[in-house]
Amino acid sequence: MDIVFHICIMVGIYMILALSLNLLIGYAGLFSVGHGAFYGVGAYAGALLSTRLGVPFWIEIVAASAITGAVGYVIGRPILRLRDDNLALATFGFAVITFSVLNNWDDLTRGPLGIRGIPKPVLFAIHINALWSYALFVAVCVAVTLLCISRLTSSPFGKVLEAIREDDIAALAVGKNVARFKAAAFVIAAFFAGLAGVLYAHYTSFIDPTSFSTGESFLIFSMVIFGGMGSNLGAMVGAAVLTVLPDLLRFAGLPGGVAAQMRDVIYGALIVIVINWRPQGLLGKVRL
């Protein structure tokens, strides 16, 4: 039973990551391949607030997400002038730099040793110790994320993001402050990636930089492309399928070591299949 809850928790965390990245890629047309970096910033911010400063969990989860959002603003403001493949490269660079910083800033992050002993969360005197209760808590976080992001995407705000994706020059010409909207989308996406990071840190109770490598960024990216850009449901389905699939292999009798290796092969193959035969992804509205 534990493995089921474990999978549910990981699916939930990736759903939050994919939903937030889809706001950038699917709606605003901003190709970010560095989402894993924000995930990492959130996880470290949460872990440090909780282990070093002993901040109560409910403050920590909001503060760490907000810190990640602020990092998103600082990073986003200069690089959002870039377009398409140049923006993708810049976000990739950000992911590489973030990994290096996490790996080398020993005083703050303890480098490759990671941060251990991240406590199980206590939310207003309720101890979230059991696996099922943590899964429930993650589910609530997914619901909140979905509510916020779907409200944004179905509002005039979301329509402006789509207009920017379709033609940012025309969006400027009808009076939209394109730079402001792009920055807002970036901050929101970073905020929720930070939330996912906090959830991950408290779940595993130990984090090190390898959990937030560029590979992680590409995994989240693959989930959005596979599920379908511009569809919130698609992002969630993409997250679920790509998280569950490797675990199914293990159930199918492949030894754990081989199954882990197969993960990357499967992701690669899925992306090739999607790009060739269904460029809009499973449920997407936008073609790659």
Partner: protein, 255 residues
Amino acid sequence: MIILETNDLSRNFGGLWAVRHLSIAVERGKITALIGPNGAGKTTIFNLLTGFLPPSDGSISLDGKRIDGLPPNEIARRKVARTFQIVRVFGGLSVIDNVTLGRRSPHGEGLVGALLRPPAMTKELQRNEARADELLRLVGLERHKSRLAQDLGYGEQKLVEIARALATDAELLLLDEPMAGLSQDMVRRMIAVMRDLQAMGKTILFVEHNMHVVMDISDHIFVVSYGEEIARGAPADIRRNKRVIEAYLGTGAER
């Protein structure tokens, strides 16, 4: 009454002066044409007027207030809207969404409004969609409102662009070659739309190569060649102007 005025407006790209010492004035409520041979700098002038390019020198005033140096979105909010030489619609969005996007939504475009959806935002959205519906009726596209803009014909996409420009409540419309690429039927439809706009009190400045249309609907014409004004006047004067004929046909054309 003058709505838009440029004073010694210039723009160079490296050593090339695309626009040089241009001083033109557009009168409110009139249809003014900007013509000239290919490469004369007409689209550059539009890009300067709408803030997509900063001027190298000179000034632009709208209703007597300087607008040069403002970004395009700020100029759009001062009731100047434009269309593009090569049509720029939001292809993957519906026709009605395209036009509604021309409206401002201070509530729905803010994060707080979008997340909390106060009643004011719902009302704002209804108002904006009702206005978009009206404008689609004006340009004759109400039947296509739910279709994706990219699925419409080229001429109809140009009409979507105009409806979207009107949705901003623009007083001054800059149309970059509205007739280019249109069938005879669509040209007639576009002329009718431009006349409707004038009847509504809008001011139009347009770039056009179709001289029949220019001579037919313009109140006033500016002619530019190599970035400089070479003539101005009513259509009848421009038709007879020697420098204009030379610029279009080359010297020796008078034979």
